[in-house]
């Protein structure tokens, strides 16, 4: 009965029933979990990273940041790669592929030498994986020959990518670390090593909180802690930036990117697609809410497509990318003054406080009526609009042109949630 839209998409030549995949992490760590995720509706899995090295984890290993009682803003983990025997992991992947042939199995691997990468690639082939992902990005490995340290070294990235792509024909995806200024450098290095796709991003190096009981970071492991990976909603802006940065690069613009980082809702996912990603992955939101979130990822995406008249995902993939331009190219000829809706205003004065203390003293406060009034200092920064607690109370209003500038048609955003 419900709205129906085609969510299927080809990623690196593989037919996917939808673009929603589990990202490599404990959410896709064994047979039962992945089977349950498939049943819930996920299109595929990037299986928890498998190495020759088997992880020996610390306890506890998670922390989170939140603000004013809201759900996690960000999530920190100190986990490494799979702590299960290598053979068992490949056996699970094989069984999953056998029992769910229409779902897409991506084997994620990490070696510490050329030989290890080759050996792991062979095992992926034997397990019947559809795609292979190389983890060049885990920020909490105990050896510098693995993880994010590798991901920032273009020579190693090329060499290890080559090791895989020379061993097997299965398309190879390199997973990037955000702990770097120019993500394009290792991404290009991976493509030069034969990689067909890029996953971005892995977790961001962080210290989430300091525990004063033990005078160390969180989580506390025997009175100590470590810098380690941050994920969840807080990192979505960083992930989106890296996706756009790669897709706008001459050498990477045709590379099929899988977007990861902070995806919780269909909207988040659609944002990655609008920038040009062809697949999206999720971990933290599943750790917090469970596989069931895929129901609203799918239903919400279908409603979005229905509303916009899109027949398939390709109708809007990449649509926002050309509109992300360098700051120097933005039109700076006008100011959009805020419009205050007197009826909706509840008189809290937050706009006044923020404008005075953080902007341009452009709002006068009518103390008797407890209402804001714009004066002629306004520069159109919209700090007030962002701080106002009432939906639709402050909206973009009159457009003021700077002295001597050419008037043109201005495309502006009118609807704020």
């Amino acid at each position: 009965m419900a709205v129906k839209k085609d969510l299927s998409i080809k990623y690196l030549g593989i037919e996917c029933e939808n673009p929603f995949f589990l990202s490599s992490s404990p959410v896709g760590g064994n047979y039962e979990m992945v089977a349950k995720a498939y049943e819930a509706g996920w299109g595929g899995v990037f299986f928890k990273t498998v190495g020759v090295f088997v992880a020996d984890e610390c306890s506890p290993r998670f922390d989170q940041t939140n603000k004013e009682g809201l759900p996690w803003l960000g999530f920190k983990n100190m986990e490494q790669i799979s702590d299960k025997p290598t053979e068992l992991n490949f056996e699970n992947m094989m069984k999953l592929k056998r029992d769910y042939p229409d779902k897409v199995m991506v084997a994620t691997i990490m070696g510490s030498s050329d030989e290890e990468w080759r050996a792991l690639a062979k095992m992926c082939e034997q397990a019947g994986a559809d795609l292979i992902e190389g983890n060049f990005s885990c920020p909490q490995m105990t050896s510098h020959a693995m993880g994010a340290d590798v991901g920032t070294d273009p020579e190693l990235v090329t060499a290890y990518s080559k090791a895989v792509t020379e061993t097997t024909k299965i398309p190879f995806i390199a997973k990037m670390t955000p702990n770097i200024t120019n993500i394009e450098i290792p991404a290009i290095a991976a493509i030069e090593g034969g990689a067909a796709g890029i996953s971005a991003i892995n977790t961001v190096k962080s210290i989430t909180n300091i525990d004063f009981e033990n005078m160390t970071g969180m989580p506390v492991v025997n009175g100590k802690s470590s810098i380690s990976g941050y994920s969840g909603a807080a990192i979505k802006p960083i992930a989106l930036r890296f996706a756009a940065q790669m897709l706008q690069h001459e050498k990477l613009k045709n590379v099929e990117i899988s977007g990861v980082g902070g995806i919780e809702t269909w909207r988040d996912a659609a944002e990655f697609l609008a920038l040009g990603c062809r697949n999206v992955q999720v971990t933290t939101a599943i750790m917090q809410y469970g596989y069931r979130i895929v129901e609203d990822l799918k239903s919400g995406m279908m409603h979005f497509m229905d509303e916009r008249g899109y027949g398939k995902l390709d109708d809007f993939i990449g649509a926002a990318l050309p509109n992300m331009i360098p700051a120097e190219d933005l039109n700076r000829d006008f100011q959009i003054l805020p419009d205050f809706n007197e009826k909706k205003c509840i008189g809290c004065g937050r706009c006044y406080v923020s404008c005075f203390d953080g902007a341009h003293q452009a709002i006068d406060w009518d103390e008797k009526r407890r209402k804001p009034k714009l004066n002629d200092h306004c520069v159109g920064c919209h700090l007030c609009l962002n701080v106002c607690p009432v939906q639709g109370c402050i909206t973009p209003g009159e457009i003021k042109w700077k002295e001597g500038r050419q008037k043109t048609e201005v495309a502006l955003k009118r609807n704020y949630d």
Binding site: A2, Y289, E295, D296, G300, H303, Q391, D417
Partner: protein
């Protein structure tokens, strides 16, 4: 001095959520694994599912979940006694206060309207089976919608000029705006269900002669109940159904005087009192024969009445109405056998329970001693092709119970028609 709320008859008693406040409320939801709220709804609506959709920014999906389950989703969002159902079950009660599920449902249904969504659809291939539903109240509307979704041809016969039953001719519009009812009814009409208004089945309309394969009786309780006390024939004495119906149809033009006494202790009594007050009565009192603790009405409704300045007196039963040709005052006797009360009034409204009209005129089905249609939990009567549900069976319940009864009866009707080979 207490602050008394002033309002108009048709002005809404509560404001809904905006997108932002709905998100804030949905963020309070604990997203329970085994959500108790979803087990608390008689009609089987899945609040946990639709709240999750709102939380994950899919309000249209939320609207779909609601509408597919309950064709009166907009109405139920306003009038369901959520405090005794889903909200009472909510796990969040263990922390502070439950999620405002009814209000979130209202928000979701409003999205459906804003985006002009058409959630319910009929199958491309219609079935030959023809079913008549008697009454256009919640029970019949739910039954008709289920049957239409399954492809059957349904005609609803309604004695009044509009659909909705108690929703349109009873519940005060401050609690349930007519536009909300109309929007729900439009969903049923959108399924191709035919409505015949101003047609009272039994009064010259004999369904058995009209070629229907099955009949559903959802006629509600429209026989008024004036207690057998001296003076009951005086002008100014009303049954609740008559009083509310006059109010709904005549609104401000309904002249019932300035001093009103309402007799009863249920939500209907509160609705009558609130209606009288909002239509301009100066002095409105509710008099109930037992204690508030024993009253079937919900505390939130009594509190709402109080907030409007309506007084409530307990343990007093009506004994006599006095006046020349029209009511001048009413006498009450105390439950303790000693107390008594004399109240001067222009109108007295008896919200002391309704009864069914003569249902055997509609179809010769078996009735119980109270005149209610005898039916199973699945809506089957003693006649194979006749089904029934809602107030006319349970003697007066809630909207959501009537919806459930209508849905269950529709399932029985479909099973019956399939068994009979009506394709």
């Amino acid at each position: 001095m207490s602050k008394v709320t002033k309002a108009k008859y048709t002005s809404e008693a509560s404001v809904g959520f905006t997108h932002r406040t709905a998100m804030e409320e949905a963020a309070r939801c604990l997203l329970c694994h085994d959500a108790p709220c979803s087990k608390g709804c008689p009609a089987g609506t899945d609040p946990a599912r639709f709240i999750r959709s709102i939380r994950f920014r899919n309000p249209k999906g939320a609207a779909e979940t609601i509408r597919e389950n309950n064709v009166l989703g907009g109405t139920c969002a306003r009038v369901c006694p959520t405090g005794d159902l889903c909200e009472e079950a909510c796990s969040r009660c263990g922390i502070d206060k439950p999620i405002e599920i009814g209000k979130l449902q209202r928000y979701a249904v409003e999205q459906e309207k804003t985006f002009k969504m058409k959630v319910l659809k009929t199958p491309a291939k219609k079935k030959a089976g023809k079913v008549a539903c008697v009454g256009a109240g919640p029970a019949s509307l739910a039954c008709a919608a289920e049957l239409a979704k399954a492809g059957y041809r349904v005609t609803v016969f309604e004695k009044e000029e509009k659909a909705g039953g108690v929703l349109t001719y009873g519940i005060a519009p401050s609690r349930l705006p007519q536009a909300v009812v109309d929007h729900d009814v439009a969903q049923v009409k959108g399924l191709g269900v035919k409505f015949e208004f101003g047609r009272k089945v039994g009064d010259g309309i004999d369904l058995s002669q009209m070629g229907f394969d099955a009949v559903f009786i959802g006629a509600g309780l429209w026989g008024g109940n004036l207690p057998d006390i001296p003076g009951k024939g005086l002008a100014g004495a009303y049954t609740a159904v008559d009083f509310l119906k006059s109010a709904r149809t005549k609104q401000e033009a309904f002249d019932f005087g300035k001093r009103v006494v309402v007799v009863g202790g249920g939500d209907v009594a509160v609705d009558c009192a609130v209606t009288a007050k909002l239509l301009g009565a100066d002095e409105v009192r509710i008099v109930y024969r037992r204690t508030l603790e024993e009253a079937p009405g919900s505390m939130s409704e009594f509190q709402y009445a109080l907030s409007l300045g309506i007084g409530i007196t307990t343990n007093m039963a009506p004994a006599e109405l006095v006046g020349e040709s029209k009511l001048e005052y009413a006498m009450f006797n105390g439950r303790d056998g000693k107390s008594g009360l004399k109240i001067a009034a222009d109108a007295i409204v008896f919200a002391t329970g309704q009864k069914a009209e003569d249902m055997s005129k509609i179809m010769p089905v078996a009735l119980n001693e109270k005149g209610l249609v005898k039916a199973t939990a699945k809506g089957k009567t003693n006649m194979a092709k006749v089904f029934a549900g809602g107030d006319v069976v349970n003697g007066g319940g809630t909207v959501v119970e009537a919806v459930k009864a209508g849905k269950d009866a529709a399932a029985s009707i479909i099973a019956y028609l399939e068994k009979k080979g009506v394709k």
